[in-house]
């Protein structure tokens, strides 16, 4: 049994048709206005020629209301072939001053299917999920993601990582990272070796200090100070980088 959605309730096709038939017993043609134009609810049982007559009469009666209107039309209650649809439109246009701009498709079931598919897509791609990239990003390479991103490797200077969600680099981040790319300043950037060229989170941007890449002699000192995984977040409109501790993760 096929189910359709009618006014929020699951009903079988049979029930719906029955309801419609009772409603339509006196009225073979009902004109309903929908948000996009008018919806023509047609009786199923009438032979097509008689239906055309009814349509003509209905519109002529409502002539004053629809004077010179340009409307979009959709059909409900009865399956019409393309030829039949055009005949209906002809009848309306010949006998009134109405001009039909276009025919709309009207299919409740299709709408529902589309809506469900959209929801599933959005859920699968929300910032809660993430994509993995294995390998080192070299200078000149750019990686983008609709969700969060985990890089299993380094991000070399000159490389760019862009994600609408969070960014985690399981390696050295020496390039540019842009988290929260559609304006979400609540995202974070984490790296095992945080040494970025630039970090942008949402609307806020921060750059590395002007001192050049540490050269050999000084390296050891700097290395010991800045060891360990670090995380960058937005705090009071600035990019704040701090070591990852368990307390920090709890409060995020």
């Amino acid at each position: 049994m096929r189910y359709t959605i009618d006014n929020g309730f699951y009903k079988t096709e049979k029930e719906i048709k029955k309801e419609r038939r009772t409603a339509l017993q006196k009225q073979p043609v009902i004109i309903k206005s929908s948000k996009n134009g008018i919806n023509l609810v047609l009786d199923e049982t009438l032979p097509f020629d008689a239906l055309l007559e009814e349509i003509k009469n209905k519109f002529v009666d409502s002539e004053k209301f629809f004077q010179n209107a340009r409307i979009a039309i959709s059909f409900e209650g009865r399956q019409l072939s393309e030829e039949q649809q055009y005949e209906v439109i002809n009848v309306i246009e010949k006998n009134t001053t109405i001009s039909i701009v276009c025919i709309m498709e009207h299919d409740d079931l299709m709408d529902e299917v589309i809506k469900r598919r959209m929801d599933a897509y959005v859920e699968a791609h929300s910032p809660q999920t993430g994509q993995f990239y294995k390998g080192t990003l070299r200078s000149g390479q750019q990686l983008e993601s609709e969700t969060s991103l985990v890089v299993l490797g380094d991000v070399n200077p000159g490389a760019k990582v862009i994600a609408k969600g969070n960014i985690v680099v399981l390696g050295a981040l020496k390039g540019t990272a842009y988290a929260g790319a559609d304006g979400d300043s609540g995202c974070f950037v984490a790296a095992l070796d945080m040494n970025p060229m630039q970090i942008k989170i949402g609307d806020y941007i921060g750059r590395s200090a002007d001192r050049r890449e540490p050269v050999r002699g000084f390296r050891k000192k700097i290395r010991e100070e800045a060891a360990g995984p670090q995380i960058a977040t937005v705090y009071e409109k600035q990019i704040l980088i701090e070591p990852i501790s368990s307390g920090l993760l709890k409060n995020m």
């Binding site: 000149g140 390479q141 200077p157 000159g158 050269v215 050999r216 002699g217």
Partner: protein
């Protein structure tokens, strides 16, 4: 069947041509049949470094356009009869050759030589695309300077994207005194950033300038750079050679002065 190796760097002036000349000569000294191809059209200088510029009649563009046979364009080296050079054109530019033509040329040369070395021009456009067209192996040359390393990183990314098989690193123009002072990056630092296998480290050597001007590659000679290049050749052939200790021996007085400085 031969091995086709491209020597590239991205940045200009780091030592690609010098490396090509020395590695080619070194392989010839080890009794291999080698051909060097200069793919830098319009700015050729492999012939100058090899000392063969007065012997050029035909060049790469002539071969590709069909004006001559390959054998007519190949120039035999002054010293080694198993070493050949295919020079580039000085009066044309990079658009004169396309990657397809390069591939065909290399196919034609494959049977006759053990090693085909391609000297790549600087940059990442047509010249680079031409040079990597037929290559199966790459040597990336860099100096231990930030700008050279950035460019080398980009080049390695492009080589990986073009699926060139083995990519190995040569660190050139090392100055161990500066490295000791902490003013220059060491070989380890460079390797850590670029993350590819190291095949050789060549120190900065005055002898290179002299050898280039005279047109006689110094591989195999007693100088430190010459030994370093020879080791690179042996490693290319698959031998395991320990890396040279590039620290120049300090004289007695400099050691004494060092004690007082601390």
């Amino acid at each position: 069947m031969s091995e086709v190796i491209v020597i590239t760097s991205g940045k200009g002036g780091v030592g690609k041509t010098t490396t090509t000349a020395n590695v080619g000569t070194g392989l010839a000294q080890l009794d291999k049949k080698v051909v060097l191809i200069d793919t830098d059209i319009g700015l050729r200088n492999l012939d100058v470094v090899m000392g063969l510029e007065n012997r050029i009649v035909y060049n790469l563009v002539d071969v590709v356009e069909g004006n001559c046979r390959i054998k007519q364009a190949l120039i035999k080296d002054k010293k080694y009869p198993n070493l050949f050079l295919l020079p580039s054109a000085q009066t044309r530019d990079k658009t004169s050759v396309n990657p397809e033509q390069m591939k065909k040329l290399i196919e034609d040369l494959r049977e006759d030589f053990d090693y085909i070395l391609l000297d790549c021009p600087a940059g990442i456009e047509q010249g680079f695309q031409n040079a990597i067209a037929g290559a199966e192996r790459a040597l990336v040359v860099t100096t231990p300077e930030v700008s050279a390393i950035r460019d080398a990183d980009r080049i390695i990314g492009l080589l990986e994207a073009n699926e060139i098989g083995k990519t190995e690193l040569i660190v050139n123009r090392l100055r161990m005194d500066m490295v000791r002072r902490g003013d220059m990056m060491s070989v380890e630092d460079v390797c850590e950033i670029l993350a590819i296998d190291l095949i050789g480290a060549v120190p900065d050597d005055e002898q290179i300038v002299i050898s280039t001007n005279q047109g006689e590659p110094l591989v195999g000679s007693d100088s430190l750079a010459g030994k370093a290049y020879q080791n690179i050749c042996r490693r290319i052939m698959g031998e395991e050679v320990p890396f040279l200790d590039l620290n120049v021996k300090e004289g007695f007085f400099s050691k004494l002065a060092g004690v007082f400085k601390r």
